[in-house]
Amino acid sequence: METKTSGRRKRQDSADGEEEADLRLKRTAETKAATVERLMRGLGLQDGTSLELRLANLSYLAYLLSKGISGELKKHIMSLLITCVGSHPGQASVYATFVGLLNVGDFDFVSECLSFMLQKAYESMHTRDWSKCRGVVHFLVDLYNCQVIPSSSLLNLLAVFLKECEALRDPDDVVVAAPQTRRDWLAYCVLSAMPLIGKDLEGEAAFEKLMVSLQIYIKKRCAMHTTMLSVWRDLKQRDYLELLWQQVDGLRQEHWAEPEHQLIPRLYMAFDETLSHGQMHYIRDFQLAPHEQGCRYPPPRVCFRIFSYDSVGEIHHLPSPVRIERHLLEAQIQDMLHSFHKERRICADSLLGYAASKPQLPVYHCIVEVILGEMLQLPTAQWININYGALLVQLCKGQPDKVPQVVVQAMDILFNRLGSMSVACFDRLVNWVSHHISNFGFICQWSKWAQSLPSPIDPSASNLQPKVVFLRELIKKCLRLSYQQRIAEMVPDTLAGFLPPPTLPHFKFVDEKLPGAILSKSLLEAMRSKQSCPEMISEIISATTGIGPLLKINVFTQNCLHLGSKSFSHTFAILSKYHSVFKDLAAGDPEKQLAILNGIFDVWVASDQYKFVVSEKLVKMEIIDPNSVVNWIFDPMMRQELTKMYVWELLHSTVRHQKRVQHAIEVVDVDDPSASDPIVKGILLSIVQRFVKTLSGAPVADEGTEEHYWFQWVLGRLQETLFIYADDCKTFSCKLLKICETSEVRPEISKTIEAFVAYIM
């Protein structure tokens, strides 16, 4: 308010010239702020900007700000600082350099920045923004490199992080209330920062003490999760933190020799002399945000490798998995991925720019490996499947003579390892491959893959070998994205047996001798007539005698689907039209709802997509109860279908529907959230029970037999289901364990459930 009144007064009694000068000043200030913002944001981008240009931008920024910074601009710079460091934690070093340069001219402002960032470190922990917090920690670590804070301050700060890890003396020690994931995260923050400062601080007592603490912690912590989180059954994937320790320790044994290929960006080196003119700041009393009940930390991870050390013959200069260089490469790629994953063009440009800046290294291989690793990650991927796929397509387009070969190579390795791949990420692989090749004319290693199958190829549905199931499901998915003739053209003759018959509806009541055919005929006539209406149809159905209610429902369902078979829209239109008839016939009666589902199965026996989409629609229309879908899926009649993807698509869609329903009730019923609690829990528990029952009923079979494969597939589906609803399962893990207690449960099943419960607890 004050400035406004003074402005008005000025306008009244001073010359126009003064006003103009004011305006100009204001405008200059605005331009300056905008320039600073543009440059600061630009520092975090890795779009292939050359090192020289980044250095020049840094110098220019420092020069721009060397002539005094207004209070307004200071606030702006600080807020930009935390935004940039928070969203590009991998670029924290550049921003530390920037602050180091500011420190040369403006000690007080940097002091302010430092307190601000320390505050943000605390806040981001409190708000559980782990990636931002790690960014701030690495920023602070690099402030030491930029001669803004002394080593004592930095080491004290890092010691605060490790204090809780040191408190853990024994894995059985339950005194520490916080979960291991919290300590893992704290240890990760410090451990991942060590390569940045090791060379400088080697030998300092406080630094060596940190290393010892880390070593002890890594040894004592529990890494039981690795088996369950491994994508490969035959290949134990290492725990991420454990491997990072080995990588860092290896670096230490080489006396912190600088990793090759400038994998640690040390932009501040160019300003060493300038930076030495700044004064040091001391950090006092840094505290971590304490653990709060229910707080979720980054989950444990295992390392995923496609291009392992032994396939290095083809991939030159790929750093060995135990070298710090591999970690640094992967960490940079991961940071870019996490910063830009929603913008596939920006993300691809950054990744390709990064690859171009390291021509000596097989960065494209690492990019593809990291993306596929995140996509197939267990228990679940972080983003939707097509996010990874769209990004890989973009990368292929951006660098068509480099990336596609690597993707093909990766696909091939994954295909050859299918035998030991976890079922829990099988669908993700099929979905990705089908989407990817649909963007490139459905070209893929069809013939090579066909050759790797035992000859002669047995395409029958009872062949449940992983590669065979993969090809069968992949071809079906490709057909869903394309059409019969197109895929038939692409697939070699050896795989022709996998091409399903054309997806035509099968309407059996054309055979007039079948029971129900008479009803079907009169219904068809009525439904086709102009005067058709639900009441009329209901009347015909109830007036029919001589056949049971279940057959009546089956006939009616088949008639609807037959008439609507032209497209989903046609089907949906008919289902909506006769919604009330369905309701009257089957509401609240599980047996009758099964008759509807069987009707779908009869008509669309040749189309997994129709079976899934129509059933899903009936659930959404609340004609079929979610529990009926569960009963249907686990009905003995469906046994063979459980090895197909569409069944699980339907199951998960049904649970999602149930979640939406629960959510809607919760929104209405805010006062009593417990009232609606059992819906999702109920369906999940019944799913697990049905799984256990179905699996336990299976005969114990020798490896390699159909029975054996069937068991493996369905057991894997149980694990996948647990993984997908891990959060929901937390509330009833005791009940899950109870299910295992029954004597007839096979040990493989209880092992799967118990390992899962141990993981989520």
Binding site: K342, E343, R344, R345, I346, I384, N385, I386, N387, G389, A390, V393, N431, H435, S438, N439, G441, K477, R480, L481, S482, Y483, S567, F568, S569, F572, Q609, V613, S653, R656
Partner: protein
């Protein structure tokens, strides 16, 4: 930063309401316009691709006003906005039936909009095209009318 979910410059000229109302409904919409489809692409294929971004509520196929056959566009509606955004991010500019398809925000389907607005019944763009596009009925309508009866007098 979120370039791919921003509104494009295209505005439906038949929208009933002011420009700002139109923009507001585009910003809240869960409906997408999908263009550059082949005439042969089916609703089932579109469903498969767009389901990978979320639960599809409805697909309305664009039809030729007179022939009532698909004419190369459709509307896809999701239940929630974030899933429509995912389609803008990950499907726009990628291939379906070997064609790069266009995905854009739409203010919401209204009966009548499923029909092509060109004079010949299809989409306007298919009247003026001068290229040959097998997936969209060959040459543009105007051009093929010129080609069909040979009016070349030279």
């Amino acid at each position: 930063m979120s370039a791919s979910v921003e509104l494009s410059s295209y505005r439906d000229q038949h929208f009933k309401g002011s420009r700002s109302e139109q923009e507001r409904s585009l910003r809240d919409s869960c409906t997408l316009y999908v263009g550059n489809l082949s005439f042969y692409t089916t609703e089932e294929q579109i469903h498969e691709l767009f389901s990978r971004c979320g639960d599809v509520r409805v697909i309305v196929m664009g039809l030729d006003k007179y022939k009532k056959t698909p004419c190369g566009f459709c509307f896809v509606e999701y239940y929630i906005r974030s899933e429509a955004e995912a389609a803008m991010r990950f499907v726009n500019g990628t291939r379906l039936d070997d064609r790069l398809i266009r995905v854009d925000w739409d203010a919401g389907f209204i009966e009548g909009r499923q029909y092509g607005r060109g004079k010949t019944g299809g989409q306007v763009r298919d009247e003026y095209r001068t290229d040959y596009d097998a997936g969209r009925g060959g040459y543009g309508k105007l051009l093929s009318q010129k080609i069909a009866p040979n009016t070349d007098n030279r």
